[in-house]
C-alpha cells in the first residue's frame, strides 16, 4: 500500500513573529522556517506504518514556492521514499490545496492520505477535511491513535468531549493531532541518502487545477495588548485584589 503525506513549510513554532508595519502580513524574511509540527507527526506516522510492513512506499508532497524543496528534503531524510513539489508562488488557500491534493491522489492512488490537522501559521484546520470531501473518502481528523486493519483503519480522535473512536474504510484521509507520536530526527546518514531520492516537480496547471482566490487579506494587525500586570507577594494580597480590584471573586 502507498501512503501520501502532505507537508507544509511554515515559520518555526518557537519564533516570536512580528507583524509588518504596513499591515500587509507577518514578517517571514530572515525568519527560521521549518516543517509544520503537525505535518512532521503525519510523516512520522506514515513511516511507522511502512516500518511495520503495512506500506511499501511513503510519498511526501509539498505545495508552494521553490523553498518547499528544502522541507521535502527533510521529509526524505526522515525516511519518505520520494517527494513531489507542486510549484506555485501565489497565495494558496485550503480549497486550492485540497484540489491539488485530490488531483495528486488520483495520479498516485495511495490508500491513505495523511496531513497535519492544522498549519501553525494560518491555523486554518481545513485542508484534510476539504480533500476528504472532494475525494468522498472517510475522514479521521485530530487523530491521537491510528490502527490499521485489513481494509479499515481505526482512529482515536481528540474531541471536545474526550476521545472518540471511529472505524473508517480504506482509502481514507487522516489528520494528525499532537499526541499521535513523537517524530524522529533525521540522522546524518539519512540526510546524505536523501540527496539522491527523487523529487518530481509539477505545477497546478499540469494537474489541471485552477487556483482561484475567493479570499482577500485586507490587513494583518497585532492583537490588543493587555494592560501590564503586577507581581504580588502574598496570598492575602491576591485575594484582596481579586475581590476588591478585579471584582472576580
Amino acid at each position: 500500500m502507498k501512503i501520501m503525506v502532505a507537508i507544509k513549510r511554515v515559520v518555526d513554532y518557537a519564533v516570536k513573529i512580528r507583524v509588518k508595519t504596513d499591515k500587509s502580513g507577518v514578517e517571514t524574511s530572515n525568519v527560521k522556517m521549518s516543517m509544520n509540527p503537525f505535518c512532521e507527526i503525519a510523516l512520522e506516522e506514515a513511516l511507522r506504518i511502512k516500518e511495520s510492513g503495512r506500506a511499501s512506499e511513503v510519498v511526501a508532497v509539498s505545495i508552494g514556492p521553490a523553498q518547499c524543496v528544502d522541507t521535502l528534503r527533510t521529509g526524505l531524510a526522515m525516511g519518505a521514499d520520494r517527494g513531489i513539489h507542486i510549484d506555485y508562488t501565489g497565495a494558496l488557500y485550503p480549497l486550492s490545496i485540497a484540489k491539488i491534493l485530490k488531483a495528486l491522489v488520483r495520479l498516485e492512488k495511495p490508500q491513505l492520505l495523511l496531513l497535519g490537522k492544522q498549519a501553525i501559521d494560518d491555523d486554518c484546520n481545513q485542508t484534510g477535511q476539504m480533500v476528504a470531501g472532494l475525494l468522498e473518502w472517510p475522514q479521521g481528523t485530530f487523530a491521537s491513535k491510528v490502527v490499521l486493519e485489513e481494509n479499515t483503519v481505526t482512529v482515536d480522535r481528540e474531541v471536545d468531549g474526550g476521545l472518540e473512536t471511529l472505524c473508517l474504510d480504506l482509502p481514507a484521509v487522516i489528520t494528525t493531532d499532537l499526541r499521535l507520536n513523537q517524530p524522529r530526527y533525521a540522522t546524518l546518514p539519512n540526510i546524505m541518502k536523501a540527496k539522491s531520492k527523487p523529487i518530481k516537480k509539477l505545477t497546478p496547471a499540469d494537474l489541471e487545477v485552477e487556483i482561484r482566490s475567493d479570499l482577500e487579506v485586507v490587513e494583518v494587525t497585532e492583537p490588543p495588548k493587555r494592560k501590564a500586570g503586577v507581581m504580588l507577594s502574598s496570598v492575602d494580597e491576591l485575594i484582596d485584589k481579586l475581590k476588591n480590584e478585579a471584582r472576580v471573586l
Binding site: Q126, E158, G162, E164, D169, R179, V220, G229, V230, A246
Partner: protein, 355 residues
C-alpha cells in the same frame, strides 16, 4: 450547479460576487449541536454571530440526530431565541452520532434547497470537523475560527497562535461559510428569553443521504465520557489550570480541589496532558480549547506561546510559578513568583466558600 457552468462561460464567478451587498438579502443557516434535549450553548453563540452579518438576516437552525432527544432539542430551538425564524430537523438513525461525511452531505442538500447566503457553525470539534468538508462539497473557501464580524463578508480571525489578527474579505459566491469562536460571541443576557411564536419546524428529507453508499465507509465506535460534574471548560466563569509544575497526576488533585472551592473548571497545558496528569479534553491552547473566562488561574504554567493562545482573552489572569522569569508573568494581571505547593494550600485555606 448548472447555473455556475453557464456563468463560467461569461467570465466566471466574478459575475456573482460583483452583486452589491445592499441589494443582496442575507439568510443564514446555523449548524447546531444539541445535547440532553437542548441546543448547546456554543451553537447559540453561533446564532449571536449570525446576527452580526447584517440587517434583515433570516436565520435557520439545522439540527440532526434521531429519536425523542432530537425532537426535544427542536422544540427548544424553536423557542429559545427571537432571532431564529426556522428550525430544520434531519432525523435518521445514522445521525445519532454526528459523523462528518453524513453531515457534510446534509449541509449540501439543505443549502441546495435553501440557497443561504451564509452558513455558520461554532468552531468546536463538531464545526471544525464538518464545515470545511461541507465547504468543499459546495466549492467555496470557508473562513474558520472567526473572532470578529465586520459586515456580511468581512471577518477577523487569529493567525500564528493569536499573535496576529487577519482581516479577510470573502469574494466568492454564496454561501459564505464560517466557523466562529464561541468565546468571541457570548450569549446576550436576553438570549434566554423566548422566541417568536411562529417558528416553523421543518423536517429535512434525508432519503438521498440515507441511500448514499459512500456514507457507509465511516462508523462511530465509542467516546470516552467526560466527568460531567465539573463545569464545562468552554463555558466556565472561572478556570484553574495546572501545568508541568504540578509534577504528577497525584499532585493535580490540588488543582481539582482549588477548582472545586471556586466552582471552576479544570484546565491543563499540553505538557500536563502529554505527561499523563490529565486527559486531553482539559488542554487549553492553540490546538486545544480556547477559553475566555472572567478569571483564569495558572499554576506551574510557563506561559508558552501555544498555551497563551488559548487563554489570552480571559478577563483576569493570575499566575503562580516558582520561576519569576516565566513568560506567563508577561501576560498575567497578578503574578506570584512562589512555589505553587505552598500557595495553593494557602488559597484553599483563605478563599471564601463558594456560595
Amino acid at each position: 450547479m448548472r447555473i455556475r457552468g453557464l456563468l463560467g462561460a461569461f467570465g466566471g464567478r466574478a459575475f456573482i460576487s460583483r452583486v452589491p451587498i445592499f441589494s443582496r438579502s442575507i439568510s443564514t443557516l446555523v449548524l447546531a449541536e444539541h445535547e440532553g434535549g437542548a441546543v448547546k450553548a456554543s451553537s447559540l453563540c453561533a446564532l449571536e454571530a449570525a446576527k452580526l452579518l447584517g440587517e434583515g438576516n433570516s436565520v435557520s437552525l439545522l439540527l440532526s440526530g434521531s429519536g425523542p432527544s432530537l425532537q426535544e432539542a427542536a422544540a427548544h430551538a424553536a423557542s429559545c431565541s427571537r432571532s431564529i425564524s426556522r428550525v430544520l430537523v434531519a432525523d435518521w438513525d445514522k445521525f445519532s452520532y454526528p459523523l462528518a461525511e453524513a453531515w457534510a452531505k446534509l449541509v449540501q442538500i439543505v443549502q441546495q434547497k435553501g440557497n443561504y447566503s451564509h452558513i455558520v457553525a461554532a468552531s468546536g470539534s463538531f464545526g471544525k470537523n464538518i464545515l470545511p468538508r461541507a465547504a468543499a462539497l459546495l466549492d467555496v473557501s470557508p473562513i474558520t475560527d472567526v473572532i470578529g464580524i465586520r459586515g456580511s463578508n468581512l471577518f477577523v480571525r487569529p493567525i500564528y497562535a493569536g499573535n496576529a489578527l487577519s482581516t479577510v474579505r470573502y469574494l466568492g459566491s454564496d454561501p459564505c461559510m464560517l466557523t466562529i469562536r464561541s468565546t468571541s460571541f457570548p450569549l446576550e443576557s436576553d438570549s434566554a428569553s423566548h422566541g417568536s411564536v411562529d417558528v416553523a419546524v421543518d423536517t429535512v428529507d434525508v432519503s438521498t443521504i440515507s441511500e448514499d453508499e459512500s456514507l457507509k465507509k465511516s462508523k462511530y465506535i465509542s467516546i470516552s465520557s467526560q466527568d460531567k460534574e465539573r463545569p464545562d471548560l468552554g463555558n466556565s466563569r472561572v478556570v484553574v489550570t495546572g501545568g508541568r509544575g504540578l509534577k504528577s497526576a497525584e499532585n493535580f488533585k490540588l488543582i481539582e480541589s482549588l477548582a472545586e472551592k471556586l466552582g471552576a473548571a479544570v484546565g491543563a497545558t499540553r505538557a500536563a496532558v502529554d505527561a499523563g496528569f490529565v486527559p486531553n479534553e482539559l488542554q487549553v491552547g492553540q490546538t486545544g480549547k480556547i477559553v475566555a473566562p472572567e478569571l483564569y488561574m495558572a499554576f506551574g504554567v510557563s506561559g508558552a506561546i501555544q498555551h497563551v493562545a488559548g487563554m489570552r482573552d480571559s478577563k483576569v489572569i493570575v499566575a503562580v510559578n516558582k520561576d519569576s522569569d516565566a513568560p506567563i508573568f508577561q501576560i498575567a494581571d497578578y503574578g506570584i513568583a512562589d512555589d505553587l505547593f505552598k500557595i495553593i494550600p494557602e488559597l484553599l485555606e483563605k478563599l471564601p466558600e463558594k456560595k
